[in-house]
């Protein structure tokens, strides 16, 4: 069965101050499809990503999100993850004292235990082998595994660690929030190639980016543009090229400024 994530008329606000950010987002992503999400700074792309993952910083005010017909918004964040949703964060937090390897082992075991309460988790040798393979395929140094999660990581290292986690957890729908930013040229190639390998019939992707460079590796089936908390324009791969060339002004003119709340 092909997993489908359906976002319908989603409205969300910042919990702390009630500022409304998402103002009616509609989008359907299927396993195997690659969607690019572009749009000016502050248009609400990261907010959408975080809302889909259940970040308590945001409140849903209207709309719904269905994962294979089930209400995603009713699920806790950890359930969403185990159901196959993954978010590669734009700005991952650091977790002092918890090593990447230890963290990922717990994440895998949480999945195994959810499937089978009797499960003893993945045997350590098997886990170590799997980690090595994934690290090799992403050009990640093995010493990464023993470092505290994101603590003192460079921007590029954080992004690689996010992709490594994605590779290990094998999501059905992956949201990548500017995974291509903060990388130097070599790192960009490695990360993009890594993501390229992960995409395929098994994984649907929502790739949030400002640049075409990432899309040279993973050709999107659809490109969407978000402005002021709504998807205002959708098209094929050519839309991204068009945006790179022309910027967003033509869209601003076409759709105007939203009325102030």
């Amino acid at each position: 069965m092909v997993t489908t994530l359906e976002i319908r008329n989603l409205h969300a606000q910042v919990a702390a101050n009630g500022e409304s950010i998402l103002r009616g987002v509609n989008l359907t992503i299927k396993q195997g499809e690659v969607h690019a999400l572009m749009g000016p700074n502050g248009s609400g792309k990261s907010t959408l990503a975080n809302v889909l993952m259940g970040n308590p910083q945001y409140e849903i005010t209207a709309g719904e999100v269905l994962l294979d017909g089930e209400d995603l918004l009713e699920m806790d964040t950890d359930e969403r993850s185990r159901a196959g949703i993954f978010l590669a964060f734009q700005y991952p937090v650091s977790i002092p004292g918890v090593t990447l390897a230890n963290f990922l082992r717990h994440a895998i075991n949480a999945r195994l235990k959810a499937e089978d309460p009797e499960s003893k988790g993945m045997p350590i040798p098997k886990f170590v082998r799997m980690m090595r393979e994934k690290m090799n395929s992403l050009g990640v140094d093995h010493s990464f595994a023993g470092r505290y999660l994101n603590e003192g990581f460079s921007g590029g290292e954080k992004k690689r660690a996010e992709v490594l986690q994605m590779a290990v957890l094998e999501p059905k729908i992956a949201i990548m929030d500017e995974t291509d930013s903060g990388l130097d040229i070599d790192a960009l190639r490695i990360v993009a190639e890594g993501i390229q390998k992960l995409t395929g019939p098994e994984m649907g992707a929502l790739v949030i980016t400002h640049y075409q460079r990432m899309l040279d590796y993973i050709t999107p089936d659809f490109v969407h543009v978000m402005m002021h908390g709504q998807i205002v324009e959708s098209g094929g791969a050519e839309l991204a090229l068009q945006l790179e060339e022309k910027g967003y002004d033509w869209l601003r003119e076409k759709y105007g400024q939203p009325e102030q709340a």
Partner: protein, 443 residues
Amino acid sequence: MVVVKRRSDALTQPRYSRDDVTTLSDKQNEPQWLCEARRAAWDVYEQTPMPHMEEEWRRTDYRSIRWQEADVMISANGVGEEVVPAKNREPLVGDTQGGLLVFVDGKVVHHEVAPELTEQGVIFTDLNTAIQEHSELVQANLGKAVQAEMGKFAALHAALWQNGVFVYVPRNKVAELPLHVVIYNTKEGASLLHNLVVVEENAQGTVQVDYASAEAEKHSAYFGGTELIVGDAANLRYVSLQEWNRETYDFSHQRAIVGRDANLDWVIGNMGSRLTKAFIEVDIVGKGSNARVSGFFFADKNQFFDLDTQQNHNAPLTTSDLLFKGAAKDNARTLWQGMIKSLPKMQKIDGYQVCRNLVLSDDARMDGIPGLEIEADDVICSHAATFGTLEEQPIFYLMSRGIERPHAQLMLISGFFDELLQRIPFEKVRERLTEEIEAKIVG
């Protein structure tokens, strides 16, 4: 007219007398110098009032202790080391260690030292034996760091300590393998043990002391004294882990004297007891030395921990680095009071003093009071106490990978302590402590 209401007939101090001092010295057949030292300490004890509202005790009310239970001297009744939980007895590394000394209810029930250490002249034995066999060596060092004058309980300790540990690493020798001491009580009541560690010039040693006791209903009291004498160019790693039962009141003085170009790496863990009042002090008396003092504590339920630390820079070109990390949950209370001092004209001093507190429930209370008294000007000193709770965004991050909330919280709290646990040089001990921390989080 003011009616002065008399206190009830509850005991307000432990019931000891000068006769107890004489009886103890006689029973242990102690040399003259020691009998005199004990009697002098008793005089100090008698002249010193019970601590109450003076600055260092102001926030610590130990008066819930039932002295009629806690002052009864614990005496051994034939139980052996098998009563000590395996986790405390386990070798620190692999299956070898330099030595193991186990006390149960104050009595030595196990004593072994690796022959290669004995051949080098290393002494690792209980203090009573050391006094019989190496009287001069003990006399030269006992009381160098901890003295009766330091307070009421220090005086009581000096007058009535029953036994303890003597570690001696002679000049230029390296005690490669760690020495492990386990102090375990099965009975309720009072115990007073003295740990004296002497590492001579250019010598090296590693010592771990574990304190624990069986669950109990009645109150216990521990009056502890620890002296770490680190000679010139010497190197000492000392780990002390306190896991008394929840009815124990621990009053202890622990002090290190660090010579010239020497290095001290001291880790202190405070997990047990009903109440802990520990004075932890490092005196750097020789030029060019470093002392690192690391502490972790986790208080839950009705526990109360009061840790006083002091770093004294009495020589130029010295560094001290103190990092404490603690957590409190339920209605536990913790207090850390830190102080860095330097003598005048001591240049090039680098002192660091930080206590990080993680408050895990609304009813828990944690306080931290850093302090500096520096009389030199070419000095780098930083001091801070920080307070935080578990943050929502890291929890969200862990949950976003499929980890359930309670487990995410547990990982974050363990992670908070990990930096400190990594300073313990024994993997098995780190694992054991991680488990104990997790048990407190979940419990």
